[in-house]
Symmetry: C2
Subunit: 348 residues, 2 copies
C-alpha cells in the first residue's frame, strides 16, 4: 500500500499533515508514503517529528500550493506544479494506490477528473461526506464536487453511494434517500423529480425523498444530492454547530451558578463536540475517480490526517472501485441505458 | 386592520391557532380577524378560550384542509374549499389586509400565486425566513416557495429582501449576500454565477457569495437563494438543532455529577433552545404576493400564531408591497430590463 499525502493542503499545513503522517507511520506499519509539497518547508517538520530518515517516507517536491481563494481550474492551469496536481499525477501513473489531501476540494476534483479520469460508466465524481444522525451516521453524496448535475449524475452517485455504504455500515441493502424539499414523490425540483422516478425503478433499497431535517432521525444511510444543495447542507450544519457552541458558552457563563454547573458537567460538552468532530472521519472519498482520493476538511488536525490515510487504505483494500465498475456493468446502471431511459421518458 | 387566520393549519390546529388568536385579540386591540376553517370544529375552541362572541372575530367556514402529504396544487384543484384557499380568496377580494397560516407552504404559495397574483414586476413570490446568527439575525430568501428558479427570480428576491431587511433590521443599506458554495465570484453553480454578475452591478449593498457556514458569523443581513437550496439549508439546520438537543440530553445524563451540574445550569439550556425557537419570529412573509401573506411553521405554538399575526400587521403598516413596487420601478430592477441584461449577456 502506497499513499500520496498532500503535505501543503489545509489551514495547518505542513505541520499538522506531517504530524498526522507520523501517527499513521506507527498505526499502519505496512503502508508506504509519498509526501508531496515544498521540500524545504517539509524538511523542517520531518526533522521536528523525527521521520526525516524514515525509509517508508519519500518526499516529492511541488513548487506551489492551491490557495482556498484560487479557482478550481488553477490545479490544471497556473499551478500545474501544485502539491494537489503532483499527487494526482502520481495517482494517474499508478505510482501510488491512493492520495489524500486536506486541501482545496475544487482544485482536487479538477486535477483528478482531468488527470486520473473517472471510472468507466461514471461521468462525474462525487464527494461522500459522513454525517452524524441521532442513531448513527449517514453519507451525504455529493457534498460539493459538482455544483451543477444531471439526473444521470445523481443516479450514478446513488450506485456509488450504495456500494460505499455497504462497506462502511456493513449493511447488505443500505437505505438510499434523495435529498428533497418534501417527503412525497410529487415534491422537489425538476432535477430531483426525474431522479426520483429513476431510482424508484432501480433494484436498490430506495426510500424516496428525504428532507434535510428528518435525515438526522436516521431514516436513510445514503442521501443523494447535487453538489450545490449537498454543500449548502454540509456547510449550513457546520455553521450552526459552531454557533451552537458559541451560544452554549454564552448562556453557561451568564452567572456563577451556571459556570459551576457547567464545570461539573464539562466532560459532557467535550462529548457533545465530538458528535460533530470530523477528526474521527478523517476525510471524504471522492467516489468515481479511477483511483482512490480522500479529501479532508481544510481545518484538518493531525488526527484527521491520520484518519484520512486510514479511509484511503480501507477503500483500496475493500476494492471499492472494482466493485463500482462491476455494479455499473449490471443491468439498468450503465450510462447508455440510463440515457435510453430518459430518452424514452421524454417521448411520453 | 383586518387579518384572515387559517384556523386549520399546522400540527396543533385548531386549538393552538385559536389560542394564539385569543392572545392577539388582547395584544392588538385595533385588529379585526376572519377565522377560516371548519365552523363546528372551530366553535369548540372559540368557546374554550372565551372568544365565541367576540365582535372582532368573524368565522368563515371552509370544508376541507390541505394535509401535509397533499401536493401543492391541491389548494387549486381537489380542495378549492380548503381553509388556505378561502383565506387566499378573502385576500384577493380585499376583504382582509393580510392572511396568516401555519399550514402547507406549497399549497399556500399555489393558492396565493394564482388567486391573489404577484406584484407588478415580480414573477415569483419568495419565503423570507428569519434565522439566528452569532451576532443577530439574517433573512434567508427563498426558504422554500420555488424549488426551480431563474436568475431573474433571484434578482427580484434580492430587491424584495433588501426592502424587508431595511424595515426589520432598521438598516439603510442591509448587506445582501448570495448563497453559494465558495466565497469567490468564480465559484457556484450556473444559476448563482449569473445572479452574481447581475447583483454585482446593482446599486444594492451586495457583499458577494456567502457560504452556508460563514453566514452564521453575521456577514450578511439577507441571504438570497433558490427555494430548493434555501429549504435544504433551513431544514438541515432545524434537523441539526433538534439532534443537538438529543445529544446534549444524552451526554448530560451519563452520570450523576453531570445531571447535578446540568440542573444547576438548567436555565442556560432553556435560553440555548430559545436561539432556535421560531415562536418569537412567528412566521415568514411570502414576499411578492399582491397582498400580505405570512406562513408559520407547521409546529406553530399559540405564541407563534400570535407573532405571525404581529408580522402580518407590521408588513401592512410598513407598506411593504408599495415599497417593493416603487423600488422595482426604479432603474435596473424591472423584469424587462433584467431580461434585456441577460439577452445582452448571452450574446457576448
Amino acid at each position: 500500500m502506497k499513499i500520496a499525502v498532500d503535505g501543503m493542503g489545509g489551514d495547518y499545513a505542513p505541520g499538522a499533515v506531517v504530524e498526522g503522517l507520523t501517527i499513521a507511520l506507527n498505526d499502519f506499519p505496512t503502508y508506504e508514503f509519498v509526501l508531496v509539497g515544498h521540500a524545504r518547508k517539509l524538511a523542517f517538520y520531518l526533522e521536528k517529528y523525527g521521520i526525516a530518515d524514515n525509509p517508508r517516507v519519500r518526499v516529492v517536491h511541488a513548487e506551489s500550493v492551491c490557495e482556498m481563494s484560487d479557482p478550481s481550474a488553477i490545479s490544471l492551469r497556473a499551478k500545474r506544479d501544485s502539491s494537489i496536481t503532483v499527487c494526482a499525477k502520481l495517482l494517474k501513473e499508478h505510482e501510488v494506490d491512493a492520495m489524500i489531501t486536506p486541501g482545496h476540494t475544487g482544485a482536487t476534483v479538477a486535477a483528478t477528473k482531468v488527470l486520473v479520469r473517472t471510472l468507466p460508466g461514471i461521468d462525474r465524481p462525487a464527494l461522500a461526506a459522513s454525517l452524524p444522525s441521532q442513531v448513527g451516521r449517514f453519507l451525504l453524496i455529493d457534498a460539493g464536487a459538482n455544483p451543477d448535475c444531471t439526473p444521470i449524475n445523481l443516479a450514478q452517485f446513488a450506485v456509488m453511494g450504495e456500494i460505499y455504504a455497504q462497506y462502511l455500515f456493513k449493511e447488505a441493502r443500505p437505505r438510499v434517500g434523495l435529498l428533497s424539499v418534501g417527503g412525497e414523490d410529487i415534491k422537489g425540483k425538476t432535477l430531483t423529480k426525474e431522479v426520483f422516478h429513476l431510482l424508484d425503478k432501480s433494484p436498490m433499497n430506495f426510500v424516496g425523498n428525504v428532507e434535510a431535517d428528518t435525515v438526522f432521525e436516521g431514516c436513510a444511510d445514503v442521501l443523494i444530492s447535487d453538489g450545490f444543495a449537498g454543500n449548502v447542507m454540509l456547510k449550513g450544519i457546520e455553521g450552526l454547530a459552531k454557533s451552537t457552541m458559541v451560544w452554549l458558552k454564552r448562556v453557561l457563563t451568564r452567572n456563577a451558578l451556571r459556570v459551576f454547573g457547567a464545570m461539573l458537567a464539562k466532560n459532557a460538552f467535550r462529548e457533545l463536540r465530538a458528535y460533530g468532530d470530523g477528526d474521527d472521519v478523517g476525510g471524504a472519498p471522492l467516489l468515481g475517480i479511477n483511483g482512490i482520493c480522500v479529501i479532508g476538511h481544510g481545518s484538518s488536525s493531525p488526527k484527521a490526517v491520520r484518519n484520512a490515510i486510514r479511509v484511503a487504505g480501507e477503500c483500496v483494500e475493500f476494492g471499492l472501485n472494482d466493485k463500482i465498475v462491476a455494479r455499473l456493468n449490471e443491468a439498468h446502471y450503465t450510462t447508455s441505458e440510463l440515457e435510453e431511459y430518459f430518452a424514452a421518458e421524454s417521448k411520453n
